[in-house]
Amino acid sequence: MKKWSELKDSSFFDASARERAVGLVDKGTFTEFLHPLDRYCSPHLVVLGQAVEFDDGMVCGVGLLGRHPAFIISMEGRFIGGAIGEVNGAKMVGAIRLALTAAKEIKAKYPGEYEAKRPLVVISFETGGVRLHESNAGLLAHAEVMDAFQDCRHIVPVVSVVGSKVGCFGGMGFVAAAADVIVMNEQGRIGLTGPEVIEQEMGKEEFDASNKALVYRTTGAKHKYIIQDCNYLVEDTIGDFHKVLGEIAGKSMEEIEKMRRIGSIDLVREQQELVKLVGDMQPKDSMDVWKHFGNENPAALPELSTAEFLKTVKRRARS
């Protein structure tokens, strides 16, 4: 595995879950929970005669971003597409709850210093949602994660980081959206229904799942950035993600709350406006929506580098 200093300039997109976990926090600060040597793997895959991983395809641990303990959850798409079962689902819930434990201890031991030492949860998603081999347990784990997110509200910021090969789909698509802040690179994708299922439901003329450009325009980071579902669009290096996480860790809870897209009745109203727009407009393509928000030449946007895109793009105005 690469050293921290090498990870800094490495591609986030190409990085393994463990590389991301180590590189997203400050140098030399990462401690992994349930290290692969402890062999906490899925008992259900064993029963089905399937290969297991000793970390069940998820790296969890704690590191530091400045003085802020950062609880990291990092999914490995190369193991069964990063899908969630009983063990890695429990790791995810466990890590979020530990952040709440840390928050409580900091408040008790260092009253007055909470803001400066406030913990956060960082989730590097790479998953299609529920792992079918243990689907029922995976489903129940998703509900526990949403429940734990609500416990974190106004106490511990939760940050979604999306920029790996598999993207973030299925149930984890709404988990990512339910976080406070979303950080993506250009390659990042978030959605609920995968492209193949949409094609199956609507027909190839309406949605061609083999059209990679169309898929990116629908679920990719640039679209998410325009409609304000992505708060930070960064270059594809682990160092760039690390830097922006450091900034987020230092923000006030009020600033963080403002970056949310769902989680209150006011935000529901705001999203209903967007749904109304889409219902009225019946866009054939996301580009119709980009144009509506003031991008005169939407077809040029996918071709731009991240830096050029950020300079020229017009985004949905927030109410």
Binding site: Y40, L132, S135, V197, I262, V278
Partner: protein
């Protein structure tokens, strides 16, 4: 396909179920306290206020007979964008209605569950269906933690993400037994077999012992995902009332951790269906405790 020929099934009969459960003639659609919903928005969802055992409750269901003209993938009980946000609004309006009331007077929310999925379309992905379902789930979690008892009753289909959307954030979940064609699963075993490339006969054999991947109400019961199975349709009302009261009592006693998704984890461990979950979390706790000082004191 016996499920669909079952005369006793409640699949597609969400509105009837509401009438069977609440006090006779008490359901008022599109009204929560002093808030009125636009009647023509989100046709796939049914929200409103009813009286249950003499007390006001919020009802949330889906309408399997409705079609949403603007979002053509929304029919047959599918929860689409408009539906998800309308359901979320119903929950927030419920919280608002009782915000100054003591815990004991926070009204219950009853979820009638019969839905095959969230809107699987292009418009849905462009606007972000993930936010609509996520929004509704966060609203339910907030209501639950604010003290509203939430009971979900699965009367038909509780499939995958749709069950997460509409059901799995409740305090307690009850379900009509398998006999009524009730379906709780992520995917039927045949699809799991196709995607995982595992032999269907082997899967069927293994499913008898291991509830973790097989489709069915009984398996979810063993995993703690369903609190109680209802054997007769006539019993839906009394079972729901019983669970509302039990949930309210636990909240009054400050035992909220026994409820909701976390409570179902505890139940799944007790019933022997999900025993690794707790081992994983206990070990993580222990490992963090050993290094906590370094991070908390940074």
């Amino acid at each position: 396909m016996d499920d669909f020929e079952n005369e006793n099934t409640m699949i597609g009969r969400g509105r009837e179920a509401v009438e069977q459960i609440v006090d006779p003639g008490s359901f008022k659609e599109n009204v929560i306290n002093d808030y009125n919903f636009e009647a023509d928005c989100a046709p796939g969802s049914v929200v409103g206020t009813a009286v249950l055992d003499g007390k006001p409750v919020t009802i949330i269901a889906s309408d399997a007979e409705a079609f949403n003209d603007r979002f053509p993938v929304v029919f047959g009980g599918v929860i689409g964008l408009e539906e998800g946000y309308k359901m979320a609004t119903a929950v927030y309006k419920t919280i608002e209605a009782d915000k100054d009331k003591p815990l004991a007077e926070k009204r219950a929310i009853i979820l009638i569950v019969d839905t095959p999925g969230n809107g699987p379309g292009k418009l849905e992905e462009i606007a972000g269906m993930n936010k609509a379902t996520g929004s509704y789930q966060l609203a339910l979690a907030e209501a639950r933690k604010t003290g509203h008892p939430i009971v979900a009753c699965v009367i038909g289909r509780a499939i995958s993400g749709a069950f997460l959307c509409h059901g799995l954030q409740a305090d307690h979940i009850v379900a009509l037994s398998q006999e009524f064609g009730t379906m709780i699963h992520v995917m039927p075993l045949t699809s799991i077999s196709r995607i995982t490339k595992l032999n269907i006969e082997i899967l069927e054999e293994l499913a008898k012992e291991n509830p973790v991947f097989a489709a069915g109400v009984g398996f979810f019961y063993k995993l703690g995902g369903v609190q109680e199975i209802i054997e007769k349709i006539e019993d839906m009302r009394s079972v729901i009332i019983k669970h509302v009261n039990e949930v309210a009592r636990l909240k009054a006693e400050g035992k909220g951790e026994l409820l909701g998704p976390w409570g179902r984890g505890i139940l799944g461990n007790e019933r022997g269906g999900r025993v690794d979950r707790v081992k994983v979390m206990d070990k993580m706790k222990e490992e963090f405790a050993a290094v906590a000082g370094k991070y908390i004191g940074a």
